[in-house]
């Protein structure tokens, strides 16, 4: 079970992040979660948004390089030790995490972890076996 996110290439120029949020705002698109990874030379912004296809189209029209990729979304209780429990599974199953980011749902009861694995199928199986709930694309986008 995978969730679609958009990834955007960012040159290290001031104001580019604001250009992205402006495009999304203009198109009434909500950002559910985001993470910015950067190096000395460039950055990659990854986001889960309310409408992936419309966001990707609008950003492309405004001249950004955009890719749609899939991440694994795991629901965890919003309490101490949750992340540790998940990472133990990751460790024991020898899953290779490319990157991850997290956000807390509005209700405040559960949090969501978004993982990019090099082998998502194995990861899904390991999480399911350990009793974690994986969220579908619809579930995440309807949050």
């Amino acid at each position: 079970m995978q969730v679609r996110q958009i990834a955007i290439f960012l040159e290290n120029r001031s104001g580019r992040l604001a250009d992205i949020t402006h495009t999304l705002a203009k198109n009434a698109i909500n950002i559910r979660a985001l993470s910015l990874a950067d190096t000395a030379d460039f950055g990659i912004l990854r986001m889960v948004v309310s409408d992936t296809d419309r966001a990707a189209k609008a950003l492309k029209e405004d001249g950004f390089t955009v890719g749609i990729t899939e991440v694994t979304a795991v629901e965890v209780p919003d309490k101490p030790g949750s992340l540790d429990a998940i990472l133990q599974v990751v460790n024991q199953s020898r899953l290779n995490v490319e990157y991850m980011y997290a956000f807390t749902k509005q209700s405040g009861e559960t949090g969501l972890l978004l993982f990019r694995f090099d082998n998502p199928k194995t990861a899904c199986r390991a999480f399911a076996e350990a009793g974690f709930k994986l969220l579908s694309d619809e579930e995440v986008h309807q949050l």
Binding site: L10, F42, T65
Partner: protein, 433 residues
């Protein structure tokens, strides 16, 4: 097709007889009519009578761009203004522009040479030719225009720029031949992709490209993206404009020099000593038949060699390889000679990398740094840092393999590198500032 069968396929011995006669007449006329040339020849201790064989040309002094500037604007014209019917000038990026003039007969010759050039590219009177070379003081536009008209083509004198309209006209008029700079052809291909126009749906079948150095990989890129044959042509305003040398469609390997009108020499790029046929050096031309503005041993600054082997197309003229570098484009980076086209060749050979690039040279202390900016296309973009870093490393590694220098590779957003509508600016040298 060969436009002028008799002159383009003449046996070499006969050609050389004609070249010598024309050279002797040209030198005598220049000596008699242009005080500047006469003075230079007198200083070098050579007179027109000393030219008894073609190789005696080596006794004559070179002409450089600096000589043309010193005689700005009309000092090297050999005829009175009443016989001049056209004036062109090259943009002077440094100093004064160079000005060239044409008599009626010069224009007729120019049209003839461009007709030969276009015929060699497979263009015929049935073609619809979209001429996107810039019209104006630049020789590209009008030079190509009259050549195509002389050949009997339907010419669309659209000039450079307004790319969307270029594409619209290609669709509506059924353009079969595009004439432009190679960098502008890529700009057109990009714009087609943006507009969702499939090049295969067009009637375009051949492009005749010149006015800037370009690499073999850029040729493949243009051919694949526009679904055409890309032909290289060569010329410079000081000699006549486009029409000095042209590739044939049959081989696309080397440009046939119009040797019945221009005598080529290759000299060592530093010592200017004559080099043997086949050796690489600076290309030097002497015009043999031009009236208004002949030049004697003009140093082009282009790097080339002469290819004596007879071509399968039947033309007997020597060929020169694609010019991929000029002595004044040459960057010396940490002691290594680097031409922008070498970097271009590498970038276009890396899969998925956009064919747009810019080279920025800076100096830190006594060390030259070279930065190559490459655009990140959707094709190579990844949500993972390591993949983009690998891309940079691949480009960097390939440049290092070829040139032995380590460049900084900067990935930039698409369309941030300025698109060319004429000659592309590939190098920004901040060392001089």
């Amino acid at each position: 097709m060969i436009w002028n069968e008799e002159n383009e396929t003449r046996p070499r011995e006969e050609l050389e007889v004609i070249q010598l006669q024309r050279l002797q007449a040209q030198v005598a006329r220049v000596y008699a009519t242009v005080p500047y040339y006469r003075q230079k020849m007198d200083e070098a201790g050579v007179s027109p009578g000393d030219i008894r064989k073609i190789s005696d040309i080596r006794r004559l002094p070179f002409t450089t761009k600096e000589d043309l500037r010193q005689n700005y604007p009309f000092g090297l014209f050999t005829v009175p203004m009443e016989r001049i019917v056209r004036i062109h000038a090259s943009s002077g990026t440094t100093g004064k522009p160079t000005v060239v003039g044409y008599t009626k007969r010069d224009l007729k010759l120019w049209a003839e040479l461009m007709s030969r050039t276009l015929s060699a590219a497979g263009v015929t009177s049935r073609d619809i030719v979209q001429n996107a070379y810039g019209y104006g003081l630049f020789t590209g536009g009008l030079g190509a225009h009259y050549g195509a008209e002389n050949l009997g083509c339907a010419v669309i004198p659209i000039s450079g720029g307004n790319t969307k309209r270029q594409i619209q006209i290609m669709q509506d008029f059924g353009t079969t031949v595009l004439l432009s700079t190679p960098s502008y052809a890529l700009n057109i291909a990009d714009t087609m992709a943006d507009l969702g126009v499939d090049p295969a749906s067009l009637k375009l079948r051949v492009g005749v490209f010149g006015a800037e150095p370009w690499s073999e990989n850029m040729r493949s890129e243009i051919e694949n993206r526009l679904k055409i044959k890309a032909i290289d042509i060569y010329g410079l305003s000081e000699i006549i404009g486009p029409g000095v040398a042209a590739e044939c469609l049959e081989e696309q390997r080397g440009l046939h020099i119009m040797e019945d009108h221009f005598l080529p020499e290759i000299v060592h790029r530093d010592t200017f000593e004559p080099l043997a046929v086949g050796e690489e050096g600076e290309l030097v031309f002497t015009t043999l038949t031009k009236e208004a503005f002949p030049v004697i041993r003009y140093r082009t600054k282009d790097i080339a060699r002469l290819i004596p082997e007879v071509c399968t197309c039947g033309r007997t003229f020597y060929r020169m390889p694609k010019v991929t570098g000029r002595t004044d484009d040459m960057m010396i980076i940490r002691g290594v000679n680097v031409f922008p086209s070498q970097i271009e060749e590498v970038i276009m050979g890396v899969e998925g990398v956009e064919p747009h690039y810019q080279i920025i040279v800076t100096r830190q202390g006594s060390l030259d740094n070279i930065e190559v900016q490459v655009e990140v296309s959707e094709e190579v973009f990844s949500d993972q840092i390591k993949n983009l870093e690998n891309l940079s490393k691949r480009v960097q590694g390939s440049i290092k393999d070829l040139l032995g220098i380590t460049c900084k590779i900067s990935l930039v957003e698409p369309k941030t590198i300025q698109r060319s509508e004429g000659k592309a600016q590939r190098v920004i040298d901040r060392r001089k500032i």
